[in-house]
């Protein structure tokens, strides 16, 4: 089963040089550092473009250290980035104000600026997330979030989502195969009903699996909280990582965007 499945989920997990200094960092350092870069990028107005440059430099440095190449970043980002750009691309047309001629089109200057800002922020945020994902396993990211005092319930839910995503994708693929095996090839919207019934069946199956998982937890003594096994250790390298990133992006952010 697991052999056939999961092509939808390929392109997740560790990549690059998995023994690199970045891969070996405490996951908390990576979460704080990369989330910090995203936050700085997102909260900076476009006029302060050197801040973006600093953020991009920090991310490029991390990627180079971890040996995560531009192709990997593109492969993993191509699902997210176009989606954001698609939303942002309408901004130049719907904003009012001063108009600029762009070839045959007449677009709003303010809109164009907003489009550029949203695009840059989206790309920086996505690349940060990709770098975190490429250098940190999902379980260690969860441990980091938990250690950073994210509510345990949310961490637990994220853990279940990760664990059962693979199971559910398996089930979806089996159901799709079953539809196709009986010649299902929808030619009009009226024939799409079968997809709805598949969704219903999937929902019911997932619900009853949830109940069984809960019973399995109870039978191993679950009483409301999941015990934590691993303690994380923050070493000198982790401090250095966070301090370097902060030194790159925080001062310039403060200087560029003075009140």
């Amino acid at each position: 089963m697991s052999g056939l499945c999961n092509h939808a989920l390929q392109g997740t997990g560790l990549t690059g040089n998995t023994g690199s200094p970045v891969h070996r960092l405490d996951p908390r350092a990576k979460v704080v550092g990369l989330l910090g870069v995203s936050l700085v990028a997102v909260t900076t107005p476009l006029s302060a473009w050197p801040v973006y440059l600093a953020c991009a430099t920090a991310l490029a440095g991390v990627a180079a250290l971890a040996r995560v190449g531009p192709r990997t970043i593109w492969r993993r980002g191509r699902f997210v980035i176009p989606l954001v750009l698609f939303v942002a691309v309408f901004l130049p047309f719907v904003r009012g104000g001063e108009q600029v001629e762009l070839g045959p089109l007449s677009v709003s200057a303010a809109g164009l600026a907003a489009f550029a800002a949203v695009s840059v922020k989206a790309v920086l945020g996505t690349v940060s997330a990709i770098l975190l994902g490429a250098t940190t396993t999902f379980p260690s990211t969860l441990r980091a979030l938990e250690a950073l005092r994210l509510p345990r319930l949310l961490v637990l839910i994220a853990g279940f989502v990760y664990r059962y995503l693979f199971v559910v994708v398996d089930e979806v693929q089996r159901m799709r195969a079953a539809l196709a095996a009986r010649g299902y090839r929808p030619r009009s919207a009226l024939q799409a009903g079968a997809v709805g019934r598949v969704a219903t069946a999937l929902f019911l199956r997932t619900h009853s699996r949830g109940e069984r998982v809960y019973l399995a937890m109870l039978s191993r003594g679950y009483a409301g909280s999941v015990p934590m096994l691993d303690r994380l250790r923050f070493r000198a390298a982790d401090v250095a990582f966070v301090v370097t990133i902060a030194a790159l992006v925080v001062p310039i952010r403060i200087v560029e965007v003075l009140p």
Partner: protein, 265 residues
């Protein structure tokens, strides 16, 4: 000999009115391996859930020295009875194998070091020591099944209960599972439809049908009784001969255990 499990007139009625257990009477001694056989809908899973307090019925039930009534008793019960669910994907819910196996011991209040020692021991017992850092979805069905067994072995239960352990396994994974289980020295209750598997692993068999225990005896003699099996919608694979299994050496261990048990009695 003291009993690990003793049920008397155990009854359970589901909220929809269906009576799944109609007075089950069963006792299992320390060190026994018992196969619980029965057709679908006979109440096997319902009965097994009672052993871990997941369901509660009326009548008398004592498991691993715990009289099953009240919440305190049930917490105690869960650390003494290890229940392995039919679908390992239900049983393995943590992101890595190691965390999953440690879940039970940590819930029992062990320290991190003690829990890790238990994890190592339990994974070694099911020959899965190499997979500690892997995620359950990266394992094959047979491997997942063995890890699921490790998750309860790590709690060092007095009674190990397995629900359909051979479901969805290919012959090789089934053989590996049999070898692993045969090495485990614990009282076992194995719920199964796989009669040859029961014959190789267990020296005693009981048949549960329509909510009652209808037969109880040596596994080899129960499986040899074609009419008894047929009455309860069970049958051996075509051409399978229990006597041949016992004399050929496979299942010999189960047979020896039976002889030992009767000598003790």
């Amino acid at each position: 000999m003291s009993c690990v499990l003793s049920a008397r007139d155990l009854r359970h009625r589901y909220p929809d009115g269906r009576e799944a257990l109609r007075g089950v009477a069963l006792s299992i001694s320390h060190g026994e391996r018992v196969a619980l056989l029965g057709p679908n809908g006979a109440g096997k899973t319902t009965f097994v859930y009672h052993l871990n307090g997941l369901l509660q019925g009326t009548g008398e039930l004592q498991v691993a020295g715990v009289q099953v009534d009240g919440d305190q008793a049930i917490r105690e019960l869960r650390s003494r009875v290890g229940l392995v669910f039919q679908d390992p994907d239900d049983q393995l819910f943590m992101p890595t194998v190691r965390e999953d196996v440690a879940f039970g011991p940590l819930n029992q209040g062990l320290t991190r070091e003690q829990a890790l020692a238990r994890v190592e021991e339990a994974l070694a017992a099911v020959r899965m020591g190499h997979a500690a850092e892997r995620a359950p979805h990266q394992l094959s069905m047979g491997e997942r099944r063995r890890v699921a067994i490790a998750t309860v072995l790590a709690m060092q239960p007095e009674l190990l209960v397995l629900d359909e352990p051979t479901a969805n396994l290919d012959p090789r994974a089934r053989r590996e599972l049999l070898l692993v289980l045969d090495e485990i020295q614990r009282t076992m209750l194995v719920v199964t439809h796989d009669l040859p598997f029961a014959a190789e692993l267990c020296e005693r068999a009981v048949i549960l049908s329509e909510g009652r225990i209808v037969a109880d005896g040596a596994c080899a003699s129960i499986l040899a009784d074609e009419h008894l099996l047929a009455r309860h919608d069970l049958e051996l694979p075509a051409g399978f001969d229990v006597a041949c299994l016992v004399s050929s050496g496979r299942g010999r261990r189960a047979h020896q255990r039976l002889k030992l048990a009767s000598a003790e009695a």
